[in-house]
């Protein structure tokens, strides 16, 4: 029938159909637009509801959680390595869930910046592993003193103090109160490359060697080695940079005094210690001392080492490349602590390919050390639970779980033994703890609450001081003095 229809009618039919289709499309379009708008509205509401935890920050790990949040400097692998510790704690305290939060940072200063950012964001951890560099910043602003807990559980922690040198504890006293129980520490000892010594026809120096002996050794190493070899490598930072030399020369870039107080602690926990009366309520660094003649003398000594090609111009940072350089015998000596042993072992150095000695003496042989331990935050949800964690971590079984290899020096003397260094060396591993026993006036890294500003001021002027003439040292120390005055006036 359709074929019999005139063309016009056919067109009409098409037009009608088209029009109908259009109408239905328009209708469908109206509907679909409404539907679409509705769907968009529902979608927006759904997305908002779905993202609500994100928008409110409720999904931030640890927030609104009853678990004890413990922040450490490191990677998720470092957090995983502590799982055995967490499991052991949980078996003892099933009512206290613990969550280790690894926070990456180039150095301690970087780590503390991130903790402060967490505080600013309203999400501070409950417990933080804090090194000497930040001990006074935390004590001043963030941490809870342990005094009441120590008094309450004195019998439980006496075993810890019996095993730990009082110098390490004193480093964490602040204005008469104790804020942390240090678990690991490292002194700035001198690592020696055995093959570099042998090439120079030298042996490990005597315990009481001097800075002049050191210079002679570096010269001998340089003369005996050709090619890409640097006798002395050092980094520009608060630990292991210029400070060990300043301490050896019986001075520092900050005037060191000690706070009164703390007798309650020393009388209770170190009653029989012969150095008890020398102990204090903590170190204080209140004034700059950069223009002290001995400071200038020390910087000039280092400048001469650099100028003579015996030492490198120090770079900032943690010296990440240092292990590789030392292990490949491109460095003769460098200041470091027990934390270096495992790294050298993993880099392929045999137990007899490196050794360690005390830092050289100058006017004294006072050493620099740094240590670290857990600090309870004032904002901690459950301070009693946090204290249980701190107390547990200071127990010997827990420390054995935490430090199975010599990648640091445990603060418990009984753990620094032949067994720990049996496969890695060095031969004179006793040097590590002997540093404190033989030089009990050894002091911590000079780190007032304004540590970050102080470290920045030091680092920038060290590099200037050791890179020019003797006159430039005096000029740089003048600038350091000014910068330190500004730094010590700052907020932190």
């Amino acid at each position: 029938m359709a074929s019999e229809q005139p063309p016009g009618s056919d067109q009409h039919s098409v037009a009608q159909t088209f029009s109908l289709k259009n109408k239905s499309l328009a209708k469908a379009g109206d509907l679909s637009r409404r539907t679409l708008l509705g769907a968009l509205g529902v979608g927006a509401v759904g997305a908002t509801l779905g993202a609500w935890p994100r928008l409110t920050g409720a999904d931030i790990p640890g927030r609104n959680s009853s678990a004890l949040n413990v922040a450490i400097l490191g990677t998720s692998a470092d957090a995983a390595a502590r799982q055995a510790l967490v499991d052991e704690f949980t078996s003892l305290h099933p009512d206290i869930p613990v969550r280790i939060q690894a926070i990456q940072g180039a150095d301690w200063r970087d780590f503390f910046s991130k903790i402060l950012t967490m505080v600013a964001a309203g999400d501070p951890p409950d417990v933080v592993y804090v090194a000497t560099e930040g001990a006074q910043l935390f004590a001043e602003k963030l941490a809870e003193p342990l005094d009441a807990y120590l008094t309450q559980d004195a019998a439980d922690v006496q075993d810890y103090f019996d095993d730990v040198h009082p110098s390490l504890i004193e480093a964490f006293m602040y204005q008469g109160s104790l804020y942390q129980l240090p678990l690991d520490w490292n002194a700035a000892n001198m690592y020696l490359n055995t093959s570099a010594l042998e090439r120079a026809g030298l042996e490990r120096p005597a315990d009481n060697w001097t800075n002049q002996d050191f210079t002679s050794m570096m010269r001998a190493m340089k003369q005996s080695t050709e090619g890409s070899f640097t006798p002395y490598y050092w980094t520009n930072r608060l630990f292991g940079g210029v400070v060990p030399w300043l301490y050896a020369n019986d001075t520092s870039f900050l005037t060191e005094t000690k706070a009164t107080g703390g007798n309650w602690f020393w009388d209770r926990f170190y009653a029989d210690d012969p150095t008890k009366n020398q102990r204090s309520g903590g170190y204080q660094w209140l004034e700059p001392n950069a223009e002290d003649p001995r400071v200038i003398e020390t910087f000039d000594y280092l400048r001469e080492l650099v100028a003579e090609g015996l030492g490198v111009r120090p770079e900032g940072g943690g010296g990440n490349a240092l292990v590789g350089l030392f292990a490949s015998s491109r460095i003769g000596a460098t200041p470091a602590g027990g934390y270096w042993v495992q790294g050298l072992h993993e880099a392929g150095m045999g137990a007899d390919e490196f050794d360690v000695q005390f830092f050289p003496s100058w006017r004294t042989q006072r050493h620099q050390f740094g240590a670290a331990g857990y600090a309870i935050m004032r904002t901690a949800k459950d301070k009693d639970a946090a204290w249980e964690w701190v107390k547990f971590c200071a127990s010997k079984p827990a420390m054995e779980l935490a430090f199975p290899t010599p990648n640091t020096t445990p603060t418990r003397r009984s753990m620094v033994n032949q067994q720990l260094y049996s496969t890695t060396g060095p031969e004179h591993w006793k040097t590590f703890y002997d540093t404190l026993d033989k030089f009990p006036t050894s002091g911590p890294i000079p780190a007032p609450p304004q540590q970050a500003a102080v470290e920045t001021a030091l680092m920038k002027n060290v590099s200037t001081a050791v890179s020019g003439s003797s006159a430039q040292v005096r000029s740089a120390m003048g600038t350091l003095q000014r910068d330190l005055e500004l730094a010590l006036r700052s907020n932190a």
Partner: protein
């Protein structure tokens, strides 16, 4: 019959009069609630985003600049103390001076290299090679500045860096790249320019492609070729792109942070310390958030002043077709 006709003509006249009225005199049709809400609704996400992430933080920074605040304690009003401390702190003035010097050198190099390479790429070249170069020059921009800086730090290390090893092959002694003021500044500029010239390069490629071929052909017929053609024809026609590229490069360079922070930490001395580094150090290391805000405001004013100056100068030097 006449009445309807009259009515009809009256209605027509009335319609004409109505249609002759200006648009503004038309009685406005009552908009539905949905119609009235539709514009604000579409604008809302952008406005809210701008308010939360730009306007409120700027206002907060302005306010904070008059307080002393360490995150932990309550803020304390200190008036203009934070601004006077900027003037009295030589580190801050040095860092601003470093930043300006850095901008002059880095932006000049960045634009110069990008323009030279863009002109070369636009010349005779197989298509695949052009694509390769475009990708290769842009590639550094997508890398993390921190990762690049760590890597470059190894390359320029005095003791074991590849750069010094290569120099040693031709008898040049080890250069203390990162431990002398001049060497450190040079490395920071080099790394920054290497990573950022790709963006200016892309802008120039787009600008060069938009110049009509006929213009070049006509100028060739008039005897302008090579360098003469570039200076008298290409560059004037490319000047709007140069303006955009220079404004963006300058704003970016004034905020340089990653490269000097990772490579040198601002040293040796203060030789590579920049304005943004001082802001970061003041806020997150020294807990002087008020002072950091004050320095930030000074930097913002500097960026605005330089950008305004660029646009003012552009009236003389930029040629719009």
């Amino acid at each position: 019959m006449s009445t309807p006709t009259l009515k009809s003509s009256t209605t027509t006249a009335s319609r004409r009069t109505q249609s002759a009225r200006p648009e503004r005199d038309k009685p406005k049709r009552q908009q539905s609630l949905a119609e009235r809400l539709i514009v604000p609704l579409f604008l809302a996400p952008t406005v809210i985003g701008m308010a939360i992430f730009t306007i409120i933080p700027i206002l907060g920074s302005i306010l904070l600049a008059f307080f002393r605040w360490d995150i932990i304690s309550a803020p304390e009003f200190v008036g203009f103390d934070n601004f006077t401390s900027i003037v009295n702190d030589p580190t801050i003035s040095v860092s601003f001076l470093n930043t300006i010097l850095f901008v002059v050198v880095a932006v000049t190099l960045q634009l110069g290299i990008a323009l030279a390479l863009a002109v070369m790429i636009q010349g005779r070249m197989p298509g695949w090679l052009r694509v390769f170069f475009r990708s290769a020059f842009f590639f550094p921009l997508i890398l993390s500045a921190a990762s690049v800086s760590i890597f470059m730090g190894y390359l320029f290390n005095e003791q074991f860096g590849v750069v010094n090893w290569m120099l040693s092959l031709i008898g040049i002694p080890a250069v203390p790249w990162l431990t002398t003021p001049g060497g450190a500044a040079a490395v920071v500029v080099l790394v920054y320019v290497w990573q950022n010239f790709g963006f200016s390069f892309l802008l120039f490629i787009g600008g060069l492609a938009s110049i009509p071929k006929e213009v070049h052909e006509a100028s060739s017929l008039d005897g302008a070729t090579g360098w003469k053609q570039f200076i008298n024809v290409t560059l004037p026609l490319l000047s709007p792109t140069v303006l955009v590229a220079s404004v963006m490069a300058m704003i970016n360079a004034l905020q340089v942070f990653d490269q000097p922070y990772v490579l040198t930490r601002g040293g040796p001395g203060d030789s590579t310390r920049t304005a943004v580094m001082v802001i970061f150090e003041s806020a997150f290391q020294q807990l002087e958030f008020g002072r950091a805000s004050a320095i930030g405001l000074v930097l913002m004013a500097l960026i605005m002043a330089i950008t305004a100056l660029q646009f003012r100068l552009s009236r003389k030097f930029v040629f719009y077709q």
